[in-house]
Symmetry: C2
């Protein structure tokens, strides 16, 4: 169909999440149509990222410096560690702009189905960090899924001897959520965790 | 949120068709997670494509050689030229594997709304090619849209003095199409172009 360079580009683009064969072809055509404005800068940005971006040796975040900008930021509270499943969750927390402590990226959640056990996650490293003098609280921000909550329970056990408070994100009605569209589990959780209104 | 290299990568990825901010972030995270297997090869493939892929000076196709592999292929019938709107249409025709002539990429269709006139398309070049001795037929494979068909009518006028047969793609029921789901225009076109069944 097209030359080998173009075919190779399409095949690699098709491996990105959210892009199938057809949308990878559309993306490749857009890139080839806008060679100066898009293809060359994107190629440079990828080469740059491949060369510079590292995984933070403290928390597991991606950044061009190690330790990452968050771990190195002296204004962030070192007594608070928020445990997240992956870097996508870390970015989501940062977008909320409300957490001023530091992070720990687990690298996944425990999953019997996918064969992911404690040794596949950065749990030992978390326990070591939580044992440090300065850490007072560990917030478990796993997804509200079966695997996420299983992982959270496992972490509570593992952190038992670290002398830190362990907390989890509240469950309840999401902002903008209409009761009619919420599942029974969410309504039940919101009801059990109901709060007195002043 | 993330370092400037990652932010820049996300912004460029978000300019691809089919990717918004959120999916561009997902794509960037996938690339960073699989740096050796995906990010580095994709960066190399893009650099390669940016350096090597050219627009064919004869037909307007993208390839690493000029004239492109299709124009240079001696087994393809030089008496047939299929006129397509863009390279995506050319690729679609090639996937069908049924056309054995050569192509001419117009670079778009006439559109009063978008301010695209005859001078913005490669029409003069098409007329010049169609005037060559060896060309016997020009097949207009524009989209069955108002702009596509307007362009086809305009091309019929422009090709009138070239001594070539001018044809268009048949309109009718698509393969697998159920009448109940087809629009009135398609059913009407299929009815008008009905064929005797032997």
């Amino acid at each position: 169909m097209a030359g080998p360079e173009i075919e190779h580009l399409v095949q690699l683009l098709a491996r990105l999440p959210g892009l199938g064969q057809r949308s990878a072809r559309r993306a490749a055509l857009t890139l080839l149509k806008r060679r100066e404005q898009l293809l060359a800068p994107l190629a440079a940005a990828m080469t740059d990222a491949a060369a510079k971006v590292k995984t933070c040796s403290v928390c597991g975040n991606y950044d061009s410096v190690d330790p990452c900008a968050i771990c190195a930021d002296q204004r962030r509270d070192p007594s608070l560690i928020c445990v997240v499943e992956d870097v996508a969750s870390l970015w989501a927390m940062e977008r909320s702009g409300l957490f001023k402590g530091r992070y720990h990226v687990l690298g996944g959640v425990l999953s019997a189905l996918d064969g992911i056990g404690p040794d596949d996650l950065f749990i030992d490293r978390l326990v070591a960090r939580a044992s440090a003098e300065e850490v007072a609280e560990v917030i478990l921000a796993m997804a509200a899924t079966v695997d996420g909550q299983t992982t959270a329970h496992y972490l509570v056990d593992r952190l038992a001897n670290c002398h830190v408070a362990v907390s989890g994100l509240a469950q309840g009605v999401p902002v903008g959520g209409e009761l009619d569209y919420l599942d029974d589990g969410t309504i039940g959780a919101a009801l059990r965790a109901r709060r007195p209104i002043a």
